[in-house]
């Protein structure tokens, strides 16, 4: 099927009234939590997982995707008006966005952020649409050996591109793999690490791990700080940017979109890395770098375009290969598995409606966000006045109800509490939980594919090297491994993350 046929199939699916509604809910919810500092898209998606059980797979993915890119819009609103990043990816938007607001140009800053994001969203949607069919060709050639090698590559990439210490990232991946081993072994049916508890015989629940590690931990960490209510100082008088603004902004938007699209595809990438890199790039190539930090419109336009492009293109490895590139995408894998959709290249060929529906819904969602957000800025800002002493207990209660409803089992509620505390420990130790989640999700798959490939080859391990696609992944993995060990690259990597 050609590109237009694919897109029209997608629009046909995404434009059904129910799916439009879930797209809107996702985009609005994303904006909401994007505006509120202290509640991020990872925590939100983790907490909403049980709700998606009742939806169709397409509606569930549309809503969760909407939360992710919606948060990029919402985050910039808080960053510009309050000088507090609503989202980690809008940290750099604070630098120049807030300065613009202080100069009475809050309106143009918000408008440029939204329009830049929208442009980036459109381009990213097209990129996904062009990219996907190429990979779909490969899908039919994938057997257990190919999947295993692909996952080795995915896990290594997660380590290389995680921010912070490599050693800690490796440790977290391994811990994730170990947690993934808990439960009944598929091949022998033996119980592993269950300590005689029947509740553990199906393994540790993904929802409990995700909610605890991301949702609960985030709330606990926020509670450590005394409650600070953000003060809204800037007034939004006029919205529309001037001609000069547009002239200054269009090139940064293009550069930000390009950079964000590329960084989004890389494992470990996504919105956060994209916005930082785009800002740095603009500052480096600017004629007068001293303007940055004092209200330069380029400093808003480029990172905002980049983070939205990155947020969207990070769906490419997920939807085409089933490999999550960051924690949000790992949660999406979980959502797909809950819906009975096995992530992998076959999603494109076997469920084209799901695949193209999600992609086109992103474009629709972006359009909704631009139309809704600019007029509604005042309302979102009012939300910042909701006291956290009301917000947090409500979130906790919904978490507990949500996880209980998964299999009507109180054991799972205890598990979130446990993983919430574990997440706090990781935070204190400076260990990122995202590699752990990737290991936890990919580990059981990896083991299953490894053993199945060996069973089918009757124990002949060369099967991973004699099948060309598998060999290709393993060579790429070896190269990645070299870069971790090579001193030159390590230095480069450390420099890259100093910017954070």
């Amino acid at each position: 099927m050609d590109l237009l046929g694919n897109l029209s199939l997608g629009f046909g699916a995404a434009l059904s009234p129910a799916n439009l509604l879930y797209c809107l809910i996702g985009a609005l919810l994303g904006t909401l939590i994007g505006v509120l500092p202290g509640v991020g898209p990872i925590a939100t998606i983790a907490m909403l997982l049980p709700i998606t059980f009742k939806l169709s797979p397409l509606a569930a993915l549309i809503m969760l995707a909407g939360i992710y890119y919606g948060a990029q819009y919402g985050g910039s609103t808080t960053a510009i008006l309050v000088n507090m990043p609503g989202e980690s990816s809008s940290v750099v938007t604070c630098l120049d966005g807030y300065q613009m607001a202080r100069q009475g140009r809050a309106g143009p800053a918000l408008a440029i952020a939204a329009l830049g994001s929208f442009f980036a969203g459109c381009v990213a949607t097209l990129i996904i649409a062009l990219f996907a069919p190429v990979l779909a060709e490969l899908a039919l050639k994938f057997g257990p050996a190919e999947y295993f090698s692909l996952m080795v590559l995915g896990l290594l990439a997660a380590v290389v591109l995680a921010s912070g210490s490599v050693l800690k990232a490796v440790g977290m991946v391994i811990l994730g793999l170990l947690l993934g081993l808990v439960g009944t072994d598929v091949n022998s049916g033996m119980a592993r690490f269950t300590f005689g508890l029947t509740d553990l015989s199906d393994g540790i629940g993904f929802v409990a791990v995700a909610m605890g590690l991301f949702g609960l931990t985030e709330i606990i960490i926020n509670l450590e700080h005394p409650e600070r209510q953000p003060q809204v100082t800037a007034k939004v008088s006029h919205l529309w940017p001037t001609k000069a603004d547009f002239k200054a902004a269009w090139k940064p938007v293009l550069r930000g979109t390009a950079l964000g699209s590329i960084l989004g595809i890389l494992p470990g990438g996504g919105a956060l890395l994209a916005s930082f890199s785009a800002y740095t790039l603009e500052k480096k190539i600017a004629k007068d770098p001293s303007r940055f930090g004092k209200g330069a419109i380029e400093g808003v336009a480029a990172p905002e375009a980049a983070n939205n492009a990155g947020a969207q293109t990070s769906f490419i490895p997920l939807l085409t290969l089933g490999i999550p590139s960051n924690a949000v995408m790992a949660l999406m894998v979980g959502a797909m598995m809950i819906q009975g959709v096995a992530p992998g290249p076959q999603v494109m060929t076997e469920r084209p409606q799901l695949f193209w529906g999600v992609i086109t819904s992103m474009w629709i969602g972006n359009l909704m966000l631009v139309i809704l957000n600019l007029p509604l800025v005042g309302m979102w800002v009012k939300l910042l006045k909701v006291p956290y002493r009301l917000l947090y207990p409500a979130i906790l209660m919904f978490c507990a109800i949500g996880v209980y409803s998964v299999s009507n089992n109180a054991f799972d509620v205890g598990m979130i509490a446990l993983f919430g505390l574990l997440g706090l420990l990781f935070f204190k130790l400076g260990c990122e939980p995202a590699p752990l989640l990737l290991g936890f999700i990919l580990g059981p798959f990896m083991e299953e594919y490894l053993r199945r490939a060996l069973l089918l080859s009757r124990g002949d391990a060369t099967v991973f090297l004699t099948r060309p696609i598998s060999l290709g992944f393993l060579i790429a993995s070896a190269l990645l491994l070299l870069t971790i060990v090579a001193p030159a690259f390590r230095k480069l990597r450390e420099e890259a993350f100093v910017e954070d």
């Binding site: 009944t184 598929v186 049916g189 033996m190 029947t198 509740d199 015989s201 096995a342 089992n409």
Partner: protein
């Protein structure tokens, strides 16, 4: 006439009306049916259809509660420990009631001592399918192919100790062929790999088999029960080639042990009636399931026979869980 009176009358007509006061007042509160699988599967659909009909005739809500996990042990344990008053029922299956005792060294419940059988609900047919590239069109050709290529053939199943696994092991011991077991976590990934040509042979449930067979992505070789099924009357049984072979996956309804006999009798009568309704028949046939019915004693005897049958298969195949 109130629904409760109607129910009592029906019980009377069926010759079970000798029940004393207890059966006349039962149920006094909503009844829950525990299903040890997630929503959406065959057993869940059967339980929900049954729950709806029972709600109409018993005058109390009869609700389905899904308690999946632990290879059905979690749901079974919860049902075994419920108060024996007939307000907690359990959909026990071939796995929970006949196979698990041979697989697990330690069980959190005892299928006979902890449960009171109510009625044998349904038997599910399974279909033996092959990938179209495998050059076999019948069970006889499969056996010949396997014998000509010893140790080369693999077969898939929904998991270690699942009915398709043990059913194929039974076929292997009865015919002396050798195939390597490739277990999967549940039906969906196993079916995906069979369609993708990674594994050539498997026993699968009827609903997914029908779609793939129609699309030409699987070739149906035979059905698993001793008799041919109404859904695909042209498809032979495995037993026509391998005399004495036959199995079905099945489900029955159970109460906690110690539930008054009058309550069990009342439910048995009700459900025997429900299983004969035309709309239930239609729903079941879509699932590839045959309604069974009968007395609680029939179910107890069936269970005992199945337990012996599968214990031998488990022992012969060397499958053992912990």
């Amino acid at each position: 006439m109130t629904p409760r009176m109607l129910a009592a009358l029906i019980a009377l007509v069926l010759g079970l009306g000798a029940a004393p006061a207890l059966a006349q007042t039962y149920p006094t509160k909503p009844v829950r049916i525990i299903v040890p699988y997630p929503p959406g599967g065959g057993n869940d659909i059967v339980a929900r259809a049954l729950g709806q009909k029972l709600t109409e005739s018993l005058g109390q809500n009869v609700l389905v509660e899904n308690k999946p996990g632990g290879g059905t042990l979690i749901g079974a344990e919860a049902a075994a420990k419920a108060p024996p008053d007939g307000h907690t029922l359990f959909v026990g299956t071939i796995a929970t009631m006949a196979i698990n005792p041979s697989l697990y060294k330690e069980m959190p419940y005892h299928p006979v001592k902890d449960f009171a059988p109510i009625i044998h609900l349904v038997n599910y047919h399974m279909i033996l399918v092959a990938h179209p590239d495998l050059p076999v069109k019948s069970v006889a050709e499969l056996i010949a192919h396997a014998k000509a290529n010893p140790g080369k053939l693999s077969y898939a199943s929904f998991g270690s100790g699942s009915t398709p696994h043990l059913g194929t092991e039974l076929l292997k011991t009865m015919t002396g062929i050798d195939m390597v077991h490739i277990p999967y976590k549940g039906g969906a990934p196993a079916i995906a790999d069979l369609v993708g040509g990674q594994v050539p042979v498997m026993f699968i449930d009827t609903p997914p088999a029908l779609t793939h067979i129609k699309a030409g992505k699987m070739r149906a070789l035979a059905v698993s029960p001793a008799q041919r099924t109404a859904l695909m009357p042209d498809l032979p049984t495995v037993g026509e080639t391998v005399p004495g072979f036959g199995f079905t996956s099945w489900a029955g309804l159970y109460a906690t042990a110690g539930t008054p006999a009058e309550v069990v009798a009342k439910l048995n009568g009700e459900i025997n009636r429900i299983l004969k309704l035309p709309d239930i028949h239609e729903q079941l046939s879509k699932l590839g399931a045959d309604p069974v019915g009968g007395t609680p004693k029939n179910l107890a005897e069936w269970m005992a026979a199945e337990t012996v049958k599968w214990a031998k298969v488990v022992k012969d195949s060397g499958a053992k869980l912990d």
